[in-house]
């Protein structure tokens, strides 16, 4: 049984599962699926199931597969999960306020063209389901719930500049004519709302990737599967709206890809990285990670650097003594969060490792509490998290690259880290070098 199901069962007592039936025809299969209801329950996961149900129904209606050519169970399961994730990616609103529009699901819903059913089970129900002669396979439904920042709050955006811009002193670099123009910043996240007035002109390219790292469809319209990506993208390169600024590098071009929705699949993120390099990205802002130390992305992070891409990664939101990979690699520029008074946020991860070189993470801290940026559908919202701090640093790197396009990854890293200063109350264990300063970083980089 997949880790997803075990994790859900341990955390909530129930799990959302896709049930692959043994090959049957028409009415018999429908009856079998109905019979599976005895193993399933309604639960607090119903809302999440409703979203997946809706996605599967769309795949079904789209004629994803004819019943006459139903392939092997493993293949059907894979197609169902990919179809669900892909369709979810086209529904930016579904993970947000529009959820209540979806009707609660029945205990089990069957999709004859896909050859799968969807239900919610307890551990006992799961055991019984797996033992049923009619069932070929039971697998975890794809993760569609996002781990959100520590706080999300709707907000009116009244000031001319967010506190994060001022804390990095980005406006002083703007005054010198630097906006990040001509610099491509890769943004791998939940996607980006291409209709937001502050983002329309910031998006140079957009893509979405399936579980095998392939683009789902060529040249899709930019959209956000959640709201996280729109927020982080806005901090990197949001354009001013009505004289209000929230993007550090308001002239930079984003190569934005939806890679996180659908779960923990290496190739999906790898596909995004590969595509971003092809788009000419020199900075990668990535506010996601696996909890703890996981080696999987280390070589890939080294390759990013060798390709001339500065990897700027969030360190995590689990507080002192914790971190996430790849944000805790030596090869990453690891970013923690500070609040408006420059204190390290309590949630901001920090950890010391036994290794040569820089043994502690994060490397630096940036504004990550009460960060106002774009919200899907227009408007703004405030979020807390190292996810919010990371794009500040990526945006600063874009400003520096405009000033010196030939700067190497090491040059950029040295300039950013060299500009950092520990603020009163910040300790190296929690804040690394402290918080960066744009003009000083420029001076270090260019010598001017």
């Amino acid at each position: 049984m997949s880790g997803i199901v075990d994790q859900q069962l341990e955390a909530t007592g129930v799990a959302s599962v896709i049930i692959v039936l043994k090959l049957q025809a028409g009415a018999a299969a429908t009856a079998t699926a109905r019979d599976l209801s005895k193993y399933c329950v309604q639960s607090e996961l119903a809302q999440e199931s409703a979203i997946l149900t809706d996605a599967l129904a769309r795949a079904e209606r789209a004629g994803a597969r004819s019943a006459a050519s139903t392939p092997a169970p493993e293949r059907r399961r894979a197609e169902a999960t990919v179809a669900a994730a892909a369709i979810l990616e086209h529904r930016p609103a579904v993970l947000q306020a529009e959820r209540p529009e979806i009707e609660p699901p029945p205990l089990v819903r069957y999709y004859p063209n896909l050859g799968v059913a969807l239900g919610t089970v307890t551990r006992e129900g799961l055991t019984a389901l797996q033992a049923d002669d009619q069932v070929a396979q039971v697998v975890g439904a794809p993760h569609i719930g996002l781990i959100q920042p520590t706080q999300v709050r709707a907000t009116a955006f009244r000031s001319a500049r967010t506190w994060g811009l001022l804390a990095c002193d980005a406006p002083s670099l703007w005054d010198q004519g630097l906006t990040g123009k001509g610099v491509v910043v890769a943004h791998l996240d939940t996607g980006i709302d291409g209709t937001h007035p502050g983002l329309r002109k910031a998006i140079g390219s957009f893509a979405q990737f399936d579980f095998f790292g392939r683009q789902v469809i060529p040249d899709p319209e930019p959209f956000d599967t959640g709201e996280h990506g729109t927020h982080t993208a806005g901090t990197i390169a949001g354009r001013p709206v009505n004289g209000r600024n929230f993007g550090i590098a308001p002239g930079a071009s984003l190569a934005s890809a939806a890679v996180i929705e659908g779960g923990q699949v290496v190739a999906r993120i790898l596909g995004g990285m590969d595509w971003a390099i092809g788009q000419g990205a020199k900075v990668l802002s990535m506010s996601l990670g696996l909890r703890g130390w996981v080696d999987d992305f280390r070589t890939l992070t080294q390759i990013l650097r060798q390709q001339g891409v500065l990897p700027v990664f969030a360190v995590g939101n689990e507080g002192p003594g914790t971190s996430r990979s790849p944000g805790n690699y030596l090869e990453a520029l690891s970013v923690g969060a500070m609040d408006r008074s420059r204190e390290v946020a309590r949630f901001s991860s920090s950890q010391r490792f036994v290794r040569a070189g820089d043994s502690a993470v994060p490397d630096l801290v940036a504004p990550g509490v009460g960060v106002v940026s774009a919200r899907p559908g227009g408007g703004y919202q405030s979020m807390n998290g190292t996810s919010m701090a990371t794009p500040h640093v990526a945006g600063l790197a874009a400003l520096l690259l405009e000033a010196l396009p030939t700067a190497t990854v090491a040059d950029l890293e040295n300039a950013l880290l060299g500009s950092c200063a520990l603020q009163p109350g910040q300790s190296p264990d929690r804040a690394g070098r402290g918080s960066p300063n744009g003009p000083l970083a420029l001076k270090i980089l260019t010598g001017a």
């Binding site: 790898l270 696996l290 360190v315």
Partner: protein, 113 residues
């Protein structure tokens, strides 16, 4: 695994090894990401990535007598993802061109920060 073929041991993700072990009994396929070995401090050009990937795959498919069910090459990242039977993926892990192998589907949660 064939011994002695790959003097510079491939770094294999423990999760991938676990999946290869458990899936072998079920005759199912496993998905794995493979990273090609690079010259020290250098990157492989995209065309070379494509070429080496197909060379390695052709070799192991001949040796195993079975084909991968799906392949996707990441030309700029010096890597590729393969779906195939465990025996095929184990052979891939043993090739000298391969630096590391990682399970594509990870049990831990990759989540937003």
């Amino acid at each position: 695994m064939v011994e002695g073929k790959n003097p510079d041991r491939t770094k294999a993700d423990p999760e991938l090894l676990r999946q290869l072990d458990t899936t072998a009994a079920n005759a199912e396929t496993v998905e794995a990401v493979f990273i090609l070995r690079r010259p020290r401090g250098a990157v492989l050009p995209p065309d070379v990535v494509e070429q080496v990937t197909h060379q390695v795959l052709d070799r192991v498919q001949r040796e195993a007598g079975r084909r991968a069910t799906d392949v996707n090459v990441f030309r700029h990242m010096g890597s590729f993802v393969v779906a195939g039977e465990p025996s095929l993926l184990r052979l891939l892990l043993d090739q000298p061109e391969i630096e590391a192998g990682i399970a594509n589907r990870q049990p831990g949660s990759t989540s937003l920060a």
